[in-house]
Amino acid sequence: MPSADVIVDLLVPYAPASPDIAHESFDGDVVVVDLANGKYYSFSDSGSAIWLALAGAAAPGDLIGLGVFADAVPEFVRRLCEYQLIAARPDLAPAPLDGAVAERLRSCSEGPDVTVFDDMADLFIADPIHDVDEPSGWPVVKQD
């Protein structure tokens, strides 16, 4: 669940929060899936660029100043942490920002944003034995 008190350290790299977080980039257009719960995440153009920068182990602070949406980087990183997609890795040294990703950040036309698709999430995480309504059975998930 999202945590309200995530503090973003701009000087350290971030990495996927667990091995269940997988991403693919389609010409810079990023889709992330949490394989543990079935949620998919789709990003705006600057959101995709920030994700790719972080995936390359750049520190968020290195993104500030790049493009018109750069000031929104800390808040966006905080949101990704709240979604438990990434976590700070102070034990690792940050890597230099990739030049192509930096250029992409400069040319973005949308603010950093992420859309969550959770159509399948209930079915992914449900225990089909203990978490379903008895009269209906799987795949009707018990509603608390």
Partner: protein
Amino acid sequence: MRTSQHQAVEPSTIGRYGRALLDLAGSVPGHGLIEVDIRLPFLDLRVRAPEGPMLDAVRSALLPSTLDLPSKAVEVIVLHGGRDGVPKPLGWGQGAYVPHRISAELRAAGLQGSLFHDLRFWQFIDLAAGRGVQLMAAPEAFPPWEPGAPLRAFLHWAYADRGFRLTHAGTLGHNGRGVLLAGSGGSGKSGTVLAGLLNGLKSVGDDYVLLEADRGGVRAFPVFSTLKQDPAGFGRLGLASRIGPRPLNWQGKHQFGIRELAADGVAEDLDIVAIFLPRIGSGSTRITPASPREALLALAPSALYQMPGERESGFRFFSGVVNSLPAYHLGLGTDPAEIAGAISAFIEAGAP
């Protein structure tokens, strides 16, 4: 194998239970099992099962292939508990049954498997040995979707192990080339496949098709013959007069085979040239570009959810498919012949 009705399977014992059932399946002498061999694309499937609805489904819903492809042999043995010395299937205990974690437990034991709890319907496979077992509490004790795609889980595991994917999508094609139709229920996917078949196009299936994506392109192959359509679409397309009345399936849909609708409607394989994302529309059919991201979000989630295990490799597989094919929104017109004509013209012209 000795079991008691009071025993229950837990996450920590599911691997041992699966292994015990596989050992049992390998040692049972005959037991009145009927042997059915079906040559599927890349898979020589041998099913040993008692006569009954499950074997009927295997005979009617699987589509034998005549293609000469490098194949692996897989045997699936179907057993009825409480019969011929086969123990009744155990139930599940108190430990959480989280499919993702269960799959990891089983993989560590060299297995894949699943349980449909309501019916104590167990399926396990040892991919290295090429042998699977399905233990049922009674001849009719299978999930309602099983007759439309019998042994689907075994085929999924066997194909995924070799880098292929059973994929929840429809297909239409012409002269060996075709398109993949991806979308959630209500998008018009199945109606589009039917419209195409009624108007001279071919298909390698709706619902589940086999995809190969590692030889410089994407090829689709038929595995199941099953088509489904809700009563409204069934009536709109005039299917009652073609294939006659039949009871509705568990989803409240009419279910029938491709060849019942079009005798020569099954293509042996299709070179896929594009992914179509159908949408119910009005007027005439429109084909407009879609992003790879939209295609992945249409194709991957249901395919990953409906196939137990192998989620990450599935995500990578579908990402590869999306990366290698152009994607289009297919705004559906209202005339089946016009829809089929638009798709046929697109395939003929080649993807832009």
